[in-house]
């Protein structure tokens, strides 16, 4: 893992081996970054830590799955986390080399309150990010995906629970 590098005091880039243990490092970094900005209160900081945890988990799991039959070397192909704090908001981009995925092709889950939902342990990650971030997009790269999340300081009002989100926005796989 390489040390964070800052440019102009508002950009932090981090290169992390694609291993589960580094997700907590990503959370620490984002927490420290927003702690320096009084616009982001403790609750919003917790939102960011959760969203970044979900995105990093997806990135690492995508790489651990490997591409085809060849597993990715977590040290040779690290995940990248780039944070830009500017104009009163923070943008976090997380890039993996996991071969890419189609967010529109994710499997639909039953409503969260449906007994059938218990058959699905995954699929909560991306809906969680959607609720916590003010903006979310998936950018395909040559060999993976960049997830771009943007956060404004204030906590947005609680949006519909994931059960209803799932009704028209399937979630699974990397979720």
């Amino acid at each position: 893992m390489t040390a964070p590098t800052a440019a102009a005091g508002d950009v932090v880039e981090l290169e992390l081996p694609a291993r589960p243990e580094v997700v907590s490092v990503a959370r620490l970094v984002i927490g420290a970054l927003v702690a320096a900005d009084p616009l982001f209160d403790e609750e919003r900081s917790a939102d960011l830590r959760l969203a970044i945890s979900e995105a990093c988990t997806n990135a690492i799991q995508a790489e651990m799955k490997g591409r085809g039959d060849a597993p990715v070397d977590p040290d040779a192909e690290p995940i990248m986390m780039r944070c830009v704090l500017a104009d009163g908001q923070i943008e976090v981009a997380i890039t993996d080399h996991g071969g890419g995925f189609d967010p529109a092709g994710l499997e639909a889950h039953p409503e969260v309150t449906s007994p059938d939902r218990l058959n699905y342990e995954g699929g909560l990650g991306i809906p969680l990010i959607k609720m916590l971030a003010d903006h979310l997009e998936f950018q395909p790269t040559g060999d993976g995906t960049t997830v771009v999340m943007r956060f404004e300081p204030r906590t947005p009002g609680l949006r519909p629970v994931i059960g209803s989100v799932n009704g028209n926005e399937p979630a699974s796989g990397e979720g």
Binding site: V23, S24, R27, E43, V112, L118, G122, G125, L128
Partner: protein, 120 residues
Amino acid sequence: MDLRLEVSERGEWSVVEAGGEIDVATAPRLREQLIALVNDQRYHIVVSLEAVDFIDSTGLGVLISGLKRVRTHGGRFALVCTEPRILKVFEITGLLAVFNVCSSVDEAIAPEAEADEVAP
């Protein structure tokens, strides 16, 4: 940060007190603990999240799995959580309607707490 797990028995209930962070790195240990309890025919399980500082969807998935596992044996599964930051994760995912979330272990294992989770 690591995940700490302590298991104790209260009659027919097993109480798993978790502390620290539950994420993709640590959740497998919680999953293994819950599986071990069910394998030991301990079908009434309380997981206390009172000392948990962080949980994400990987941790939620393990808890969903635990709930499902004890239900297949006719058991009961409850959580203890009063920390607003942790409760928020259950709230925004709609899982407050799925889990029996109590404010103490005593409440969770009380006989009147049987009307837990969603109707089968």
